[in-house]
Amino acid sequence: MNPQELQTEVAYFNEHRNEFLAIAPGKFVLIKGQEQHGFYDDDEQAYTAGVELFGLQPFLIKEVVLQDQIHEIPALYLGLINASV
């Protein structure tokens, strides 16, 4: 489960984040390679478009926000279910 798989798409998003923020704040952008393929109201719509366009290949869905939320699952990193992040 290597996050490097979408490295190109993540880098492209970060490079264009400000442009995307100017035109579609709060929307979900669909990115494949170094190209964006539209902005969608929610991640479900973006996923539908992604499968239509790229089938089962990897693609990136990203919420257009100024700063990514750092997600937390304390049960994992505190070892409450004896698992790990």
Binding site: I61, H71, I81, N82, A83, S84
Partner: protein, 163 residues
Amino acid sequence: MPLFEMQYGAKTQGADGKPQVVPPAAVLQHVGPFLQVAVAVHPQHAERLITQGQQPPEAVTGLALIDTGASITAVDEAVCRKLGLTPTGVIPMSHAGGSEQRNCYSIQILFPGSPLPSVTIPLAASCNLGGGTQPYIVLFGRNLLARLKMVYNGPRGRIEIAF
């Protein structure tokens, strides 16, 4: 709104070797609120496989812990591999030493033996849940809990869920 009541219960072995019933309230307090689930590929993923003349992989069954402390829903990495999923996102996730990037996958969660409708999650974070003593394959985070109503009935040892 479909309503589902999950009543917990368990039996243990007493000091005399005879089975003893554990009160539902104690079970819920000890283990936490969990549900039986099956994780499958997203319906559109399945549809695409069928179009290609392939059968969608069989859903993976296990337990889902309802975790109000989790900001996002997580699915076990091994389940993602078993289902042959490809990533749909990358998110930063905090851990004891800072944060790291985690892949996200699109999944469908079904609730066998209950009237609850299946739910789709386009961006479920992959984590290693398999190292634990409990057979959890999913943690229901607040992004999924945002879609439902849940009553945690501690004294009765049950939860009630309405979608």
